[in-house]
């Protein structure tokens, strides 16, 4: 079957009524998550995994996986869009990926052009979503064909590359990022070893036999960690909500932003495909590029529409691009995609080159639903932007305890064990401490997801080579991955020593 045929099947899956509903709910919740400061895309997605797992419990596994991944992906790109709303209206970015949008977006709102800024952001996000989708369709088949030729040694090195990329860009200190990565890998070794059936680090406790549940750790570190942070560090209530006069952009605005949207989409897409570099970096790069290409660079920072259109397209394109390594290679490049991967694995569906052969319904259904979801976002956000802006007024008094209650309910509904709940609360406290002291949490979660696979591939490769470690450097592709991995860690280090500023990706 050709790619087009698969895509058509994908649309057939995505257009089933329950999947349309899931996509709709996903993008609405995602937009809300994006608007609310305090919950980012990562904690939003982590928080919804148990909820979707219970909702889809009645469906057959594959359909359940498709529906829930459609919802979760909707949350992911919905949040990317929602973050821009508060940047423009309140000068408070809902996510780190829309920090740049505040520069020109808020200025535009002050001039009474909030409506144009918001709708350009929506249109830009939509175009970016379509570009990412086209990229996904074009690259999915060749990449997964290539990945099928990989042996265990290549996989091992590729996964190390993924980890190195995320750690290298994750925080201010590479040492801290690496520590978090190793801690994640260590957590992954707890439980019964899949190859030999021997128990490791369980101390005879039966609840540790199946390993430490990724979901508990992710919800604890991200969702609870952020809640605790908001309780402890009171943020100043700021700013008047800017008024929205007209929602549709003027012809001049559309003309001015067409090229930045196209550039931002392409740039964002390629940055998104790279592991480690995510939406935040993409939006920064796009802003810098637009400023460089603009005929009137002095207008930037004073409400130039290109300063909204470019970065907003870039961050959405990046979140679409980040799906490519996840779906085709089985290697998540960021914290959020690591969580999506964990969700797929919970349904016993292994992302990677075989995904397109074994579960075309899941892969292509998701791809098609991303297109539909983006369309929904555009249709929803133009008329409903005023309502979404209201979400920011939800009192924290009720919001924060309810997030705790949802986390506890969600983990209990999936795990049925009080042990996991205690672990959840402990992870929440740790998540706060880590974030406060600049320890990036995303590498830990990524390592926890990838850890068992890295170990299995390493041992398989070593079994092939009879315990000879040189197999990792004698295979050319594997060597290439390792060299790239090492340079990913070393180059920022060298640049730092030379006193250059290194852009870091805080969103993960």
């Amino acid at each position: 079957m050709s790619t087009l045929q698969f895509l058509a099947d994908g649309f057939a899956v995505a257009l089933q009524w329950q999947n349309l509903l899931f996509a709709l709910v996903g993008v609405i919740i995602g937009t809300a998550v994006g608007v609310l400061p305090g919950i980012g895309p990562m904690s939003g997605v982590a928080l919804l995994i148990p909820v979707t797992a219970t909702i889809t419990a009645g469906l057959p596994t594959e359909a359940a996986a498709t529906s829930s991944i459609i919802l979760l992906a909707g949350v992911y790109y919905g949040a990317m869009y929602g973050g821009s709303t508060t940047s423009i209206l309140l000068n408070t970015p809902g996510e780190s990926s829309s920090v740049v949008t505040t520069l020109d977006g808020y200025q535009m709102a002050k001039q009474g052009r909030a409506g144009s800024a918001l709708s350009i952001a929506a249109i830009g996000s939509f175009c970016a979503g379509v570009v990412a989708l086209l990229g996904l369709i074009l690259l999915a088949n060749p990449l997964s064909k290539l990945a099928l030729k990989f042996g265990p040694a290549e996989y091992f090195s590729l996964m190390l590359l993924g980890l190195a990329a995320v750690s290298g860009l994750a925080g201010r200190s590479i040492t801290k990022a690496l520590i978090m990565t190793v801690l994640g890998l260590m957590l992954g070794t707890v439980g019964i070893d899949a190859v030999s059936g021997i128990e490791r680090f369980t101390f005879g406790q039966p609840m540790l036999f199946s390993g430490i549940e990724f979901l508990t750790i992710a919800v604890g570190l991200f969702a609870l960690g952020e809640v605790f942070k908001t309780i402890l560090e009171k943020e100043e209530e700021d700013g008047q909500l800017a008024k929205i006069n007209r929602v549709l952009p003027t012809k001049q605005d559309l003309k001015d932003s067409a090229v930045p949207i196209a550039r931002g989409s392409l740039l964002g897409f390629f940055i998104g495909v790279l592991p480690g570099a995510g939406a935040t970096l993409a939006s920064f790069f796009s802003y810098i590029t637009e400023k460089k290409f603009s005929k009137t660079p002095e207008q930037f920072g004073k409400g130039h529409i290109a300063g909204v259109a470019g970065p907003e397209s870039a961050n959405n394109a990046a979140s679409g691009g980040a799906m490519i390594p996840l779906l085709t290679l089985g290697i998540p490049g960021s914290g959020t995609t690591a969580i999506l991967m964990g969700a797929l694995i919970m349904y016993n569906i292994q992302p990677g080159p075989l995904l397109f052969d074994e579960h075309p319904q899941v892969a292509w259904g998701l791809i098609a639903s991303m297109f539909i979801g983006n369309l929904m976002l555009l249709a929803l956000n133009m008329p409903l932007v005023r309502i979404f802006a209201k979400i920011i007024e939800t009192p924290k008094k009720y919001l924060l305890p309810i997030i705790i209650a949802i986390s506890i309910f969600g983990v209990y509904a999936v795990q049925f064990a009080t042990f996991d709940l205690f672990l959840l609360v402990a992870c929440g406290v740790l998540g706060y401490l880590f974030a406060k002291n600049d320890y990036p949490v995303a590498p830990l979660v990524l390592a926890l997801v990838l850890g068992p696979m890295i170990e299995n591939n390493m041992r398989r490769a070593l079994t092939i080579s009879n315990g000879d470690f040189s197999i990792f450097i004698t295979k050319p592709l594997s060597l290439l991955f390792l060299v790239v991995a090492i340079s990913w860690l070393l180059i920022p280090l060298i640049m730092k020593i030379r006193g250059k500023n290194v852009l870091i990706n805080e969103e993960g």
Binding site: T54, I55, L178, V182, T189, R200, L232, P401, T418
Partner: protein, 158 residues
């Protein structure tokens, strides 16, 4: 930012890595004659973590010294005691919630937890807090058990 956290954490990590390495050597070997058993990977991780914790200790020590010399920025975002008290009450009630969940049921514990935390966050409008807490706990329970067919501990088992 405090470097004391980094220092304490690095020492904790070092202890953890030693413990981890020790535990890893206790893992029994594979039953069959595979060259790479379940030991190697954890052992390697333990060693790497040990090295990284030393590096972290060195880095934080160096920064602490540099700050002492320059008298540099020691401004850390102080958490006010009222916020800390709020946090501790909510954390404590979350732990109690988790502890009693299976013993006295989902609805009662959730309701109590939400009431306490709502009122801790802001001591106003008790009646709203009670309504929202009751709505959430009943709503989640009935949606989950009757519509989705899940099971939650319902009422105290006496």
């Amino acid at each position: 930012m405090s470097y004391t956290f980094d220092k304490t954490f690095s020492i904790t990590l070092l202890a953890l890595s030693i413990l981890f390495i020790f535990q890893a050597t206790q893992i029994s070997d594979s039953a069959y004659g595979s060259t790479v058993g379940p030991k190697i990977f954890p052992l390697g991780l333990g060693i790497i973590l040990g090295l990284l914790s030393l590096q972290l200790f060195y880095e934080s020590w160096k920064k602490a010294v540099r700050e002492r010399v320059t008298g540099g920025p020691t401004t850390s975002s102080k958490i006010s005691s009222t916020e800390l008290k709020k946090f501790l009450i909510i954390l404590g009630s979350a732990l109690a919630y988790v502890f009693f969940l299976e013993k006295i049921g989902y609805m009662i514990t959730t309701f109590l937890f939400l009431c306490i935390s709502f009122q801790t966050m802001e001591r106003t409008k008790l009646i709203y807090s009670i309504i929202i807490a009751a709505g959430f706990s009943l709503g989640v329970y009935y949606l989950f058990t009757s519509l989705l067919g899940g099971s939650l501990p319902s009422f105290p088992i006496f």
